[in-house]
Structure formats: C-alpha cells, structure tokens
C-alpha cells in the first residue's frame, strides 16, 4: 500500500507547510493532559469507503491480537483515561472484539465504540450489541449524508438503507433515546472534496429530518472534513481535486482551532501496540512526537508540553471551526 507523499505536491507550492503556518501565527502544537486513549484494533472492514483515511477494507489483514490489547490495558491501568475509544477498520470484525470490550470497559468511565453500522448489521453481532449495551458504551456511528446517492457513493451501494435500519435497531435497544442513558452519536463527513458544514446547524437538520423520516433519534452529530490521506487522498489525486482541496484546507486555517484539536488530549495506538498522536498520523505512520514507541515501553502517563508530530494533512483539523 503506497503512502501519500510527505510533502506538498509540486503544483501547490504556493501554500506553506503546516509547521510554517503555525510559526507564522506564533503557535506551537504541544500535548496537553492525555485524556483519551484511542485503540485501533485493525484495518479489516466490510466496507471500502472512498473517504477512508486508512485504506481500510475487506482485503486488509491487520488485526490486533488479544495479547497486544492486554499490553495496552496494562498501561491504561497506570493512567486515568477519561475515555477509551475503540476504532478500526470495523472493530466489530476483530475476532477478539468482545474480549477487548470486556478488557477495557472497567478501565474508564466512558467507553466509546466506533461503528460503520453495516458491520453491526451482520447476523452474529447481536451478542456484541448486547455487550455494548451492558457496559454502557457510547456508540459513534458513521452517517455521512441525508441523501442516499451521496451516502452510497461514499460508502458503498446499499449502505445507506442498511445504516438506517441499524440506527432504528440501536434506538430500539435504547441507544440515542434521550431518557435511556445510552449514547448514540453520529459522524457526518462531506461526500467529496469540500469542507463540512457548521456542526450545530448540521446537527439540527439531521435531527429534524431523521426523526421525521424514520423516527430515529441520536445524542449529537459531529461534522468533520475529510482528511487528505489514504483512499481519500488517492481519489483526490486521480480526480484532479488534490491541489484545490489542500488549498481550501490551508486557506481555511483558523489559529483559534489549534488549542482544541484532538491530538492534544488523545493518544492513538495501532493494532501492533505502537503510539501515534492521532489516527491520521497513524495512517501516515508518523509516530508519537516523531519517535517510534511501543506501549510496553511506557510506565505512566504521557508527558504534557511535548511536541506533536505534524504534516500537511493537519490542515484538515484546523480548517474553520476545527476538528476536536
């Protein structure tokens, strides 16, 4: 799998690097207190989403072994993480996912479980769903668009209808029902090379439309711009959209967004147990603070005020309101 180029393409030399942009605004991107542990349990996925920054899909074989998860849990016991966020690929499809959920939920007040929804629709996932319910996991589900053709164009034919069915099922279990205490949050990514809408307005509209059309309720909607990495970057390149999109992200740089970007308070660990400042740096194999560290080497919390590794995909997190 080829990695995206580390430097800006030749045709967009008229925008400066992310590091230079920070310097221009007298900003430094450093780690704050690390409150969230994000665990990527592998790149295997039943979908081949065109906006995926990880190139996840049915042909990927990377998968976290339970032994690696135990090493991560050993470290997590020494750090009071406010949240542990299980992601992938499709985490549902890791063969040890139920053991992994049971391993981590006692270590944090908030277990987050990311789902593409269609993986939860598979017939053998009922037990996992009941487990997630019993440990009060917050489900964060991808639902990019209220338009079927745009959603299916991004995520695969038929995924939109399946997603609606699974959201109704999650609601029936209590996820996203406001009086249940079971959280269901949605993530909406633009279906193309354009920035995401204002999150508050998008949440309001999704809430109205989904309730009216399907009776679906949810807690919050997060609206994120696509990060120019992985399969999405390849599409940007082949469709001729890369220069325009990178310029759009760079020109939308918001200095005020830097303080709140997620990498300041999150650490991401890959299926092999290596640390990254975020899932996007993981995609680019840009290790935590620029240094390759395995979780088994760690003795306690990560130091604050240490530099965060950056590259030009970081413009996606500082465009407009930012990616927090």
């Amino acid at each position: 799998m080829s990695k995206p180029s580390e430097t800006l393409p030749e045709m967009i030399k008229d925008i400066q690097s992310f590091a230079a942009t920070l310097s221009q605004h007298n900003l430094k991107l450093t780690r704050d207190v690390t409150r969230t542990l994000q665990i990527n349990v592998g790149l295997y996925c039943n979908q081949t989403c065109r906006h995926c920054h990880l190139h996840a899909g049915p042909n990927r074989t990377e998968s976290m072994l339970f032994e690696t998860a135990e090493k991560i849990a050993h470290w997590a016991r020494t750090v009071p993480f406010e949240a542990i966020d299980i992601t992938g690929g499709a985490p549902e499809l890791n063969p040890d996912i139920k053991r992994i959920v049971k391993l981590f939920y006692p270590l944090t007040p908030q277990l987050i479980f990311r789902s593409n929804l269609s993986a939860l629709a598979q017939t053998d996932q009922e037990e996992l769903l009941l487990l997630l319910k019993s440990v009060n996991a917050a489900i964060v589900a991808s639902f990019p668009s209220l338009n079927e053709s745009q959603a299916d164009s991004q995520r695969g034919v038929g995924i939109y209808k399946t997603s609606v069915n699974v959201l109704q099922k999650l609601n029936a279990h209590g996820f996203g029902r406001l009086d249940s205490g079971l959280v269901l949050n949605l993530v909406s990514n633009p279906a193309g090379a354009f920035l995401s809408p204002d999150q508050t307005q998008a949440e309001h509209r999704f809430r109205q439309v989904m309730k009216k059309k399907w009776g679906i309720t949810f807690n919050h909607l997060f609206s994120f711009s696509n990060v120019p990495l992985g399969r999405f970057r390849r599409w940007l390149e082949t469709s001729g959209n890369l220069p325009t999109y990178l310029k759009k992200l760079a020109y939308s740089f918001n200095p005020a967004a830097v303080a709140g970007v997620m990498c300041r308070s999150l650490v991401s660990i890959d299926w092999n147990g290596y640390l990254f400042d975020c899932d996007f740096n993981l995609s680019r194999m840009l290790p935590l603070g620029g240094e390759k560290i395995h979780v088994s080497e760690l003795k306690g919390p990560l130091s604050a005020d240490t530099p965060i590794a950056t590259a030009d995909h970081c413009f996606a997190c500082t465009a407009g309101a930012g990616f927090t």
Partner: protein, 110 residues
C-alpha cells in the same frame, strides 16, 4: 483568449473595485449582508442563490454556489430540486405569456 470563462477568474472578482472602489465597497458590503443569517439560514440563502445562478446562467455563480451549498450541508437532492424551481419559473414565465398570445389571437382571428 481561448475561452471567455476561466475558473481562476472567480477569485479576482474583487478586482472590479479598482476603477470604482466606493461602488464596489458598497456592493460587497450589501452582498455579504444579504448572505448573512437572518430570517433565512445561510444554507437556505445559498440554495436560492444556486437556483438564481442557473436562471441567469452564470458559470461563476454556479461554481461558487454549488460549493457553498455543499459546504453549508445541502445535499444533491435539495440542490437539484432548487434548480427545478428555477427551471419551473423560467419555463412558466414563457408559458404564461401564452395568455398574451391567446388574447391577441382572439382579437384578430375569426
């Protein structure tokens, strides 16, 4: 000049102020005020702009407001319906003048 319309000309719109800066300043202030959130949301105003852009057939406006509509969270279904509204009005405006044709014809025909 190989073409009258070039996408890279759109960001040069403000150059129109070079010969008449006061008028341009007034126009752009008004323009920005029009598209700010009011009784209508910015998303709704962008959909109206997209429809009007097609009615006046302005490639610059179609480029700008296609992107603005998407970034304000409108989807392809809504944007397509907005264009149909413009099309219906344009078509309807022609057709309703058929009444004039009928009036005149009735006057001169047996």
């Amino acid at each position: 000049m190989e073409t009258y319309y070039k996408p890279e000309d759109l960001p040069k719109f403000d150059q129109i102020g070079q010969e008449a800066p006061d008028l341009a300043k007034k126009f752009f202030e008004y323009y920005n005020a029009v598209f700010a959130e009011g009784e209508l949301t910015e998303r709704e105003k962008a959909l109206i702009a997209l429809a009007v852009a097609h009615a006046v057939q302005c490639p610059y406006c179609i480029d700008a407001y296609t992107q603005t509509c998407l970034e304000k969270g409108s989807n392809m279904g809504e944007m397509t319906e907005a264009i149909h509204v413009a099309t219906a009005i344009r078509g309807g405006a022609s057709l309703v003048h058929g009444v004039q044709m009928r009036n005149l014809s009735e006057k001169v025909c047996l």
